[in-house]
């Protein structure tokens, strides 16, 4: 029973990180209908900003940790907006596949620039938050896990408020629903898309720092695998659907943790995809996505 609860907790914290990345994928897909492959590398840049900020700040304090987190979020938001402005905007309205290839190019560019600037060897991430372990009835809870879950919960509530309670959030949903109609009622599409990229990238930056806290070895290619998993999570929940992304990430985090703890652990990566395929076969638009019949 304790072991089960322990795995549940581990799965929850892994799922929380996947959720932060998946939200960025799903929001960009919602407004622009394309897979932003470079998103997983924005996540990597977030971890590196956290690394450099963490070395300047007092380590092992909650305030210092939060400051590093905020720095990573701000830095990634700017990076996301710049990428959209320079690379994706000129292609807007073009064929989806071209945008996709451009995104792949951007992803490779960030990865290899990262290798040139930061070096390919992994670096140890500094313990920016106080390292404490709490034991409750044999259940081992590290403070890092608590921080991951709390920060994710706070950010998701903030996102929910931003999307449903603010003017720009309403505009975002309008653009996702119908970009042309949104333009007709006076919404500045460019501003909304920039905002979406900024928001999604900030979440990825936070995800990068939180991921590095739990797996404290960072390198320029660290984003590839979590990015892919997070994208799987987004599709699992129904891509373009914000609660869906969170749900999908949670399911994926749980499944992975439980498989990791069993004797099938070497099949971990395959089972994430098998889950996705299994769900897509029965619900082709994802768990919470709505399947729209094509009209002629």
């Amino acid at each position: 029973m304790t072991e089960f609860l322990q795995q549940l907790l581990n799965g929850l914290s892994l799922g929380a990180i996947y959720a932060l990345i998946a939200l960025g994928y799903t929001m960009v897909y919602g407004v622009l209908r394309f897979i932003n492959f470079a998103h997983s590398d924005v996540f990597m840049v977030g971890a590196f900003i956290g690394y450099f900020a963490g070395r300047q700040l007092p380590q092992g304090t909650v305030l210092g940790g939060l400051a590093a987190l905020a720095a990573a979020m701000a830095g990634c938001a700017i990076l996301g907006i710049v990428i959209e402005r320079l690379v994706y905007r000129p292609l807007r309205g073009g064929p989806t596949l071209n945008v996709l290839i451009t995104a792949i190019g951007m992803s490779l560019f960030l990865e290899y620039t990262g290798q040139l600037v930061f070096g390919a060897t992994p670096r140890a991430f500094p313990p920016i938050f106080p390292a404490k372990v709490i034991a409750v009835h044999g259940l081992i809870v590290s403070l890092n896990q608590v921080i991951v879950i709390v920060v994710t919960a706070v950010l998701m509530v903030a996102l929910e408020l931003a999307v449903y309670r603010t003017k720009i959030g309403t505009a975002m949903r309008a653009v996702a629903l119908n970009p042309r109609a949104a333009q007709l009622v006076g919404i500045n599409i460019d501003v909304v898309i920039s905002f979406t990229f900024g928001l999604g990238s900030a979440l990825a930056g936070a995800g990068g720092v939180l991921y590095a806290l739990n797996y404290p070895s960072i390198d320029p290619l660290m984003g590839v695998v979590p990015g892919l998993k997070a994208f799987v999570a987004a599709v699992l929940g129904g891509v373009g659907n914000i609660p869906g992304a969170a749900l999908g990430a949670l399911i994926l985090g749980m499944v992975e943790t439980f498989v990791d703890g069993s004797r099938w652990s070497t099949y971990k990566d395959a089972i994430a995809f098998a889950t996705l395929i299994g769900i897509l076969l029965f619900r082709p638009a994802g768990l919470l996505g709505r399947y729209t019949a094509e009209k002629v």
Binding site: Y29, F34, I35, V87, P90, L91, G94, P95, T96, L97, N98, I101, T102, I104, G105, M106, S107, L108, F109, E111, Y112, T113, L116, L228, F231, V232, V235, V239, T266, Y267, D269, A270, F273, A274, L276, I277, L280, L281, P284, A285, E294, V296
Partner: protein
Amino acid sequence: MPKPFIALLAAVLVAFGVSHYSDRIDPYYLDVMTGVGINIILAVSLNLVNGYTGQFSLGHAGFMSVGAYLSAAITLLLGPRLLGDSGGTALQQGLLFLAALVAGGLGASLAGLAVGIPSLRLKGDYLALVTLGFGEIIRVVFQNVEALGGALGLNGIPNYTTVFWVYSFAALTVFTVVCLVRSTYGRGFIATHDDEIAAEAVGLNTTRYKTVAFVVGAFFAGVAGGLYGHFKLTITPTGFDLTKSIEIVVMVILGGMGNTPGVILAAILLTILPEVLRSVDQYRMIMYALLLIVLMLARPKGLFNFDYVAIASRLRRKPRPARE
């Protein structure tokens, strides 16, 4: 004899001729040539799925790995038994290699069938993700099968791949894809690509077309995998990951979807480019990435996709007719 057959035969003969004198060619150039040929097979076969039929597959490297492993297993395990200690004559080796390649291709096309039937009711990005997922699953399975070397992969594969085999199969791939698409039956692929609903309305079984495209594409990917394995002499599961699939997709898109000559040129260019950039090794991949972005911004329809009407009218110095 119809023209395409003559072209195929001529290509095979030329490949045989070049291969016969291959010891006079610098080994480095020979390696690059072999790499180019394998990439042509991969890109042209993926073009049938992604370009002509309009289904976005990201699992080509997965099918390639099935072919690579199956054919390598045949030459490694069955080879010594069939050929004996002496290693057999060149003809016997060639026949064994041909059988291994075809078996690898058939195995890959079976995998293609297994992937295609359940996933082809998905569309666009979802299909891309499912094919990606199948590719990754195949990779993880190979990583876990101890008989196939696990994560270390298979080593000591006999060096059977020559320019003759690579370019004969490249010619066969181009021949098959071009003839298939130009045939009466093959018009269905293009119809499925252009408008699925309209194609169904006139009585075409679009699911059938998609499956056929998948199976044929996977066959040649498997053959390419076999050639690759007997060229590199060692294969590991990580060599067939998503990066490899993306590399092939990039060739297809840069060449222009559904434009076989363009795709061949793109495969040649994108194989040689990293070699040329080897002198600036540090910046090689950055330049590759930047080039991808710039090409997509500057030539959105593919590098080798020209608007012949526009060029012709510009040559005649007449204003272009207004089009709706």
